[in-house]
Symmetry: D2
Subunit: 130 residues, 4 copies
């Protein structure tokens, strides 16, 4: 069996999931991947654009990911750049919106810092049949 | 709102997911996290036990993860240790079984190298109401 | 040429470095590796011991590393565990002492949070012919 | 003391190193950092440019790094893209040349895959007073 023969792989390994569940599954893997791959990367106001673009282009390669928007909070960077010249990327700086499709279902997975929780939360912002 | 006040967080951010979907969501995040946090770690036959244990204990902290078993393939390590004394952890070496619960649903997420696909696949091995 | 035939590799690629310089070179690579491999790992007071041990055993595999002591600050973990149940490993929590030998020279590389600098600094704590 | 008051930091923490040793120390940290931060990133022929640029811009923020050239081997990507659509970045694909200065000394640190060793080696390609 070929990993790129998606019909056969789906039938053998994913027949226990609905389209909604599969879109959530693949999108969530990619969000966990994004966080743990890039947290710790040196970043400054000046380098943020290239890092955002590289995160977007790499995560867009993952299964089902159709669209992704990554924003590194420039206000946090501006403060940290002043104190230390640059800093390490943390979850608090990230706002990510990731669209993951399976068949006709699109799950929009979001991670952003929720001031009310004082925490960068990952959640499903919306999910629907298209 | 407190991030640890789970009822309020669930109501506000996760009311669009069923218990099955939520168990899949959290388990998939943790599997993506595991892969991208630890891939690249120097490893040998001698150090594999401590790395397996640290992966298990760190990923068990993630939301919903109740149980996790990580195995680094000793046969691959034995071959690579002979050639290079040690190697970098890759997906091909990993076999992970992760149990993620939400309310009465348990999703068992698996990652292992599938020889037939020549690929380390992440999938939902089983999911059920308990 | 075999990567484990150290005399030949040294002669071809490292003849421009003194023993002091080589011990510093290898030790510094390992300290940079440690930081960027493990930053972001989920950690709590309960899991800190297994993570410390896995970091020590994996980094001890790197060229020249003879001894390493990793300590994750329990006071920071205690505070963060109370607020969020667990946290992500950051440089501020780490105190690492790494002994890297080349021939008769031992370089002791240190990383720890320096309150006076408000920064986790990497530096050569001592270096001498043994 | 301020981390950006480089004269005071140098005097207190780095007075035991020559300019050559300091250039080697900082360059080696950055090379170890690069490897362990970015190994495992999803990459394809199409995304390689943005990843190369983000690696360059982030590592250029590290102390002493004045110039850096990162190349991800397109031949390896071309082969892997055919088989799996994309792959995970490994050390074998990387060719990095990093110029690290301290005072009048420049160390050129290199990492590239050495076919004769079957290994991606980090070494000091050249070092001199300018």
């Amino acid at each position: 069996m070929d990993i790129n023969d998606k019909d056969k792989v789906n039938e053998k390994y994913f027949s226990n999931l609905s389209s909604r569940e599969r879109a959530i599954f693949e999108g969530a893997i990619s969000m966990g991947a994004l966080f743990h791959q890039f947290i710790g990367t040196p970043v400054s106001l000046k380098s943020a654009d290239s890092l955002q673009k590289a995160i977007e282009e790499s995560i867009k390669l993952q299964p089902g990911v159709k669209k992704i928007k990554v924003r590194i909070n420039p206000h946090i960077l501006a403060e940290l750049d002043t104190e230390f010249e640059y800093t390490s990327l943390t979850g608090d700086m990230l706002d990510v919106e990731l669209h993951c499709d399976f068949k006709k279902t699109r799950a929009v997975i979001r991670m952003n810092f929720i001031p009310d929780l004082n925490y960068p939360l990952m959640y499903v912002e919306s999910i629907k049949e298209e």
